[in-house]
Amino acid sequence: MTLKELQSSKRAHPYPVQSPGHERGTRSRSGIRRRSTILVTAVLVFITALVAFPMYWVLATAFKSPEQLYSGIAVLWPLPSHIENFVEALTRIPFLPYMLNSLFLATVNGVLTTLSSALVGYGFARLRGPGKGIFFGVLIAMMMMPGIVTLIPTYLLFSQVGLVGNYWPWVIWGLVGSPYLIFLYRQFFAGLPKELEEAAILDGCGQFRIFTRIFLPISKPIVVTAFVMSFLAVWGDFIAPNLLLDQSNTTLAVALSSGYVNERGFPLNNLIAAGSILYVIPVVLVFFFVQQRYTQSFSSAGIK
């Protein structure tokens, strides 16, 4: 499915079987449909409530004072609400410096991953060379490869060449690109017509120019998706910064999971909740900003 089709397929499925309640039938049949629509809605309300509840609970927890937190009764919403928890979440640990670390790593890695994946994807989609089939097979196998299996030995190697405790590993990972995004680009570039580069070749353009001047600009939706996905991957990653960085220069993900404890080491749940919300807000904003594109290319990344 092309991106265009995917975008238009947001509309309801044209086939009536998939859309009960919206097709005029005989009276008894539409009665059945109305009942099934009610049933479907009921199921959806139930599932959505189940899925949304933890989000609500974190939000409610973030506004509670320690007394409200441990009052022993379930309060639906804490009154008075303690907005100052958010201020304390920002100050109890060096929240903003950690956030800047996350932001820096995610941006640097995101930009590099986006560009290098595009480069490699273009190579696989539009160029030829001996061994291409084998390399492509390896690429697909890499997508299936459990990341954590290589991460620990990579950490051991990095620690021997002085790449632990600094941000270089994220630059290196960015330069290499991600198999998944390479595949995404490859699928997109392979679907474009041959005429696109033919004139440029006749004009004597090199492949690199064709890539930067023609293919990269028209793949803007994929570029955005690739950047968002790699940015969010680093923003959310816990294992790599936990292994490779120190307390002083780690990311928000790591700091958040261990920072909010009192003097005796007990977790401060209301601050954990407030901190988590502040940590997730950028993700949710990015998600709503690029939602359509993101989910669609994510889903079409294609298995085909």
């Binding site: 086939y15 060379g129 089939g133 299936m144 490869m145 190697l157 492949q207 999971s257």
Partner: protein, 320 residues
């Protein structure tokens, strides 16, 4: 050979243009190629080397012990316990995720009121970072301030400490199933790929909804279902972060304090490496895990040959 071809076609194998083009190909894929060798193949080989030693990661010296680590790993009941916990997790989570996300996709592929609202809400947790998901559920299941115990209190039941004993496995399941929306989105896209003409033809042939689903929809989306089954199995088997964050302590000690019910395989590996400094032993575990994943993947693809239907041969577009 070249001369006969050159008469017919000016651009032939080995011509400057072809050479230049294949040089361009290698230049373009070189970041990934070099990266794969340095960051995947080399570390794997390194881990294989380490797995044949008794290195503790600290001392400069080590001894070659051959296959001893592998024999020790396979003879250790602890390994089998952690591996079977991972297997149980996969057996519970994978079918629920694949079938559940398909069910949700079918529901949300219909015209229902507020459809995009439901879709967004169900998908949202899937974009949450793993740390946020684990911490959220930790708050929900907290012994003193959590929602679950609060509800239990309403019904006059005692507070349960969800973070210990077997209960913590329930929390881990909740964290993992919360991301079901990711599969739902993939299935939604797949469902929209199902040919309306085929469905219509089936209706005209007298097929009911169930028959249409099994005879038309299911075969069409079967590659997508296979893809999800394989990737989510691999994903679940290497679960690490949620189990670690459900540990009662944080920091370096967390991995050894993970409650037994959540000591899944990767937690075990991590503890062997960084808590007990048994680098050789842990590397052997990692390699066995790698082989196990490989076997699982191959088995899935083998088993699926007869059940998965490809409208286009997926291997044919590799060399385009």
């Amino acid at each position: 050979m070249a001369s006969t071809l050159s008469v017919a076609r000016p651009v032939r194998r080995g011509s400057p243009l072809t050479k230049r083009r294949s040089r361009a190909f290698y230049l373009f894929i070189s970041p990934w190629l070099i990266g794969t060798v340095l960051l995947t193949i080399f570390p794997l080989a390194y881990a294989l080397g380490v797995s044949l030693t008794d290195w503790d990661g600290v001392s400069p010296g080590f001894r070659w012990v051959g296959a001893q680590n592998y024999l020790d790993v396979l003879g250790d009941p602890e390994t089998w316990a952690s591996m079977s916990r991972s297997a149980v997790l996969a057996v519970v989570v994978v079918p629920l995720t694949v079938a559940g996300s398909l069910g949700l996709a079918i529901l949300l592929n219909q015209k229902v009121r507020l459809r995009s609202f439901w879709r967004t809400m169900i998908y949202l947790p899937a974009v949450f970072p793993p740390v946020a998901s684990a911490l959220s559920w930790k708050l929900v299941f907290d012994r003193d301030s959590g929602a679950i115990n609060a509800v239990r209190a309403w019904f006059g039941q005692d507070a349960v400490n969800w973070m210990t004993g077997q209960q913590v496995f329930v929390v881990l399941l909740a964290v993992m199933l919360w991301g079901i929306g990711a599969g739902m989105i993939i299935n939604l896209a797949a469902l929209q790929d199902v040919s309306p003409e085929l469905l219509e033809a089936a209706t005209l042939d007298g097929a009911g909804p169930w028959r249409r689903f099994t005879a038309v929809t299911l075969p069409t989306i079967s590659p997508v279902l296979l893809f999800q089954t394989v990737t989510s199995t691999i994903g679940v088997l290497q679960t690490f972060v949620p189990a670690l964050l459900l540990s009662p302590t944080t920091g370096a000690a967390a991995v050894t304090a993970v409650p037994e019910a959540n000591r899944i395989f990767m937690i075990d590996v991590y503890a062997q490496y960084f808590a007990y400094s048994r680098y050789g032993y842990a590397s052997a575990m990692l390699w066995l895990f790698f082989l196990a994943i490989l076997v699982v993947t191959v088995l899935f693809f083998r088993a699926s040959r007869k059940t998965v239907f490809y409208s286009v041969d997926p291997s044919s577009d590799g060399g385009k």
